[in-house]
Assembly symmetry: D2
Homo-oligomer: 368 residues x 4
């Protein structure tokens, strides 16, 4: 039978315009550029509205890959899903994770293995950001990405990465010029709305919702959330990109993916459960953790919206100097790096409707 | 025999000008203000030069305690050692730790128990900051504080907290006006010099140095460091305050203190060793950790000066938006809170000569 | 007849906890503390949610004045209107402006002279911030303050300073706990709503509105604004403080006040008009400007909400590192200081409904 | 005779990766890409160490121009001098200024007109930054650029723009690895050293020094400075780029350049003198200022190192949240935009040895 083989490479970056890591793998014949389906990166900007390191990295990668793929740089972004998450606060280290996929006629493996699928939504209008239509269009794209990954069962989906748009002053003006109102005039606030709607779209697609969504549930009804969604907003696009990671019987990869939910930003128990889910720890202790098999950890971090963590006040939401997403990435990054043994892990900020309020999903890709 | 009994109270703060927590303990008769020897606080400023939350908190506490002690507010700071460390990034939560001490004629306990001692240096001149004279004067004060704590053996000292001065533009001008040069014209940089010299003073006093210090060892020779020093620089003073915590045979307290060194910002193994040292974990695993007995964790955090953690690049030192000390506190605070179970722990930034480069001491005060 | 004599003193601050400037004036007999009606200060915090320099300055001043006035520190704030505006970006210099007032039987002067009046609103609930009730209660307080200043004609009012509350995470939770929703969950955003509603309250009181306000006009209908309102939000109060400055026939002061509106952040022509209005420049040129008679300049600054200034894009609203209010204060402060000849001027951020969108009122108090 | 004709174009940028402005001019035949000698840009990063908008803009422009020039992107930077200055704080607006030059046999014009010349230094080693060798190599390059501009007389040079390197953690390590010490370990501090040494290089070349430089004059002896130097440090290069602007008898351009020195950050009189020098104002007043003829204003801004402006304390150097260079650009940008009538002016931070301490040179390019 035809199965897919996914491979995952993590390379460090020396700067947002650096792609020597991936280039070297290609030159060494280790990685065939034609097989690349997705590249997830942590870049060293502020992760906010004016973080241009994301588009700079994407532009540089597209420019490097275009001649190798025999297409124009602008076409590369149509073919490969780029998700650059800005912000390497604290111990986090800029890096890229490259997912490749190829079909093979090898016999399928008994157990389910890592599989990846991708899909794009249509282009959104500024006034659609954070509203029901963004949820619905995202849900449709998630289902297309599951099909692309050969995953039938929702519980086999362990991570859904979404890159979604945000509002800028110009985009808000554009809507106003057409007589339309946006949900917010603040670019920074729009990032939260967009991540929230995207994540509820994942929850809708995977049947994770308790009840039908109400009209204004985005950033309101925190009880509704996805256990596997991870959304990043970026200024460089107006559509959303969806990447599904799961384990599929139609995969012959040497990797598996697992996940758990961190219930708050300091939930080490939840974090350890993710390692257990990926098969590299036997229980909630550190001695059994086989860090050598970790390919990457993908987690979302956020400042709990009620201003507290386990009853203790945090100051992230009241800080006018540093945005709450930067605070949260730094703290959760510190915890995860302490377990993984290094800072080149993918911790992304803004976990609205991604896990419970103040917490977030955490997925682990591990070698078998 | 006469022994000392130390008690330790940790109360949360609702803001830098809030002292309702300690006031309530006093009103309830739990805490006698006459017994207070030291108050260590985490306040929610930026921890940098223009962090006025430290002096605001100190002023407010002095003003509240003065009438209870029957002295003027300015005299309170002569009697009680206040150390306010600014910066509650990420999950860290503003709080105060109050140390009280009283003499009693109770029989001494077989085992050594928590003891505290304090001392002040003389007032420094701006041009002395970061230079050998600051090291030497600090060392003398450490020895006076050890005597005050009834500790004879250096290895019984587990934590030496120092509050030291920094340079402002006005202080640099003052030195220039007298024809003297300061080590740096940058206030932010002066904080590092002052913390470094203070910590080498601790190392000198406790016999922790490999070899005699050279003329310009501060912020140069990273191999020289103390395993127990914790220094914070603040704009509100020009002398240094020294607080020694250790275990003494002349103490009948219900607390003990232990410590270890984190070798880098993600050293979970070092962190666990500190819990073992304090007698609340049996080995390097999480299952045995008795978090219920933790009174507080005192740790220093810093961005490793070589720009890397275990070979992975970090971006803290190259970030012009957020100071490296804020990054480091957020990350290390995330890790420690993940172990301690909450964010009201004392993580302080800038660990120059406090533990190895990029790491720092971590002390744990625990109930017996 | 009985007339009032207002005096205005501007003193520099060496820090938010410094009140030596005003203390010296009192000790020298230049300023009678019993005459103080209002103190407007620029303090060196970030001007945002977690700017504690405002309450620190107010607390320190109250503590210093209390024994001189023979009342408790907490009563001082009931008697004197303190308005501390955080943020001395760029060339701005921390300082205090003290307004005193006393009644006298001197004969009235032919021309109208500087007069001051103050009033407080009731305490607001978190859910009232930014909503019509805040507008209406503010308007009532403005009218009481006008009466207090002996000003009958609205056109004699040249400056209305308001200090208004903001939301914190705790206050939002408080409202939620009572089943009420606040206009926003973001503290930073709430500052804009509160300033906007306060300013529309001034416009309502002074008859500056084009048409009756609609339900949701705050931060929506930018055509409605006051030409003389200046509102600052601060975490330290939940009611609003209103200070009216104008010229009154019942004043025998040696000062006058004038004002104009800056139509955008670079409107030097508007700025010069304010000097003309105060009688210290003869026309729109710099040669005639008599800077020696300036006591202080009071201006509001903001990033134009459409993202442009005279057709050129600005980046203030899209900056996740520095809040837009800090950017705006720095830029407008640079312009005004260039005209006034020094940076100890009162430039305050966030000019929602204070002057046209992107601009703001500017008032000048000058010696006759 | 053969004369040069310089043309100057200012185009706005919609982002650091946007080059539609210049592209449109090329497509319309207004600008011949082969004539471009220099592009000076203001990009919207933080202007600090981790400001990647500068290299992103340069990379994008090189990539766009390469096929038009028939050379590789990396060769474009050898041929055209790119100087991207990060930081558009406050009212400043991102834009590019493009200088073209071509030889013609037109008869020379009686008066001197705008002329431009460029030169590169050799690549510097990290340990050379801020030291005498950087001064000397820069001086040589300035003289080569003057020759390239056909300018013989130093007083005809009105502006010398330099782009110089800075230190990163990696570069400091590189020096250490070779047993060499750098002047500072801080990237941010290294920017000041590099700008300072570059500017003293200009002063040396143009005979502006009072006396021979002493060994450690950089960032020490503030009396030594250039009246026309403007230096920006950037992470993207290790050599320096020198651009000389002046008026030459061998130019037939329709532009002239003038300059003056602002003695501090609020020196409106100095600013007006620059407009007078460029022939578009008749004296120190605003009425005569012909803003319509301004092509661009090039100014340097800095926080005065003594912490004061005209005796009033500023807080820029003590702010741990916002770097002093950002503060200074915002303030000076506000003043200059108030005079120029818009924010698309080139105000660059860090004026060490560029004008007197706390001030800076300001040049004006105007249409004849």
């Amino acid at each position: 039978v035809s199965v897919q083989i996914v491979e995952v490479f993590r390379v460090v970056s020396h700067g947002p315009g650096d792609c020597t890591g991936i280039k070297t793998l290609i030159e060494q014949g280790v990685l065939d550029p034609n097989d690349i389906v997705a590249i997830l990166g942590k870049t060293e900007g502020n992760g906010g509205v004016n973080d241009f390191t994301r588009e700079y990295a994407t532009t540089t990668l597209s420019g490097m890959l275009a001649p190798l793929l025999g297409i124009a740089p602008t076409q590369v972004e149509q073919r490969i899903a780029f998700v650059m998450s800005g912000g390497t606060e604290g111990v986090l280290s800029p890096h890229l994770t490259i997912f490749t996929r190829r079909q093979t006629t090898k016999p399928a493996i008994q157990s389910k293995r890592l599989s990846v699928g991708i899909a794009l939504t249509r282009v959104f209008l500024p006034e659609e950001i954070g509203r029901p239509v963004q949820i619905e269009e995202t849900a449709k794209a998630v289902q297309r990405a599951m099909a692309d990954a050969n995953i039938d069962v929702c519980s086999d989906v362990h991570y859904v990465q979404i890159k979604c748009p945000l509002l800028t002053a110009a985009r808000v003006e554009n809507a106003h010029g057409r007589g339309m109102g946006t949900l917010t005039g603040s670019s920074y606030a729009s990032m939260a709305y967009s991540r929230g709607a995207s994540s509820l779209g994942v929850a809708l697609a995977l049947g994770e919702l308790d009840s039908p969504l109400e009209e204004n549930s985005v950033l309101k009804d925190w009880h509704q959330f996805s256990h596997v969604a991870s959304a990043s907003a970026g200024v460089e696009l107006m559509h959303s990109v969806v990447i599904v990671l799961g384990n599929s019987p139609a995969s012959a990869s040497n990797y598996v993916v697992g996940h758990a939910v961190m219930h708050d930003a300091i939930d080490r128990s939840g974090l350890l459960s993710a390692f257990v889910s990926a098969g590299i720890a036997s229980s909630d202790d550190l001695v059994s953790l086989d860090t050598g098999r970790i390919v990457n950890v993908f987690a979302k971090a956020e400042a709990s919206p009620n201003g507290q963590i386990r009853g203790y006040r945090h100051t992230m939401l009241d800080d006018t100097d540093i945005s709450a997403t930067r605070h949260a990435r730094a703290a959760v990054g510190g915890l995860i790096a302490g377990f993984a043994g290094h800072g080149a892990v993918y911790v992304s900020g803004g976990a609205e409707h991604q896990g419970p309020a103040g917490g977030g999903p955490v997925a682990v890709v591990a070698r078998v």
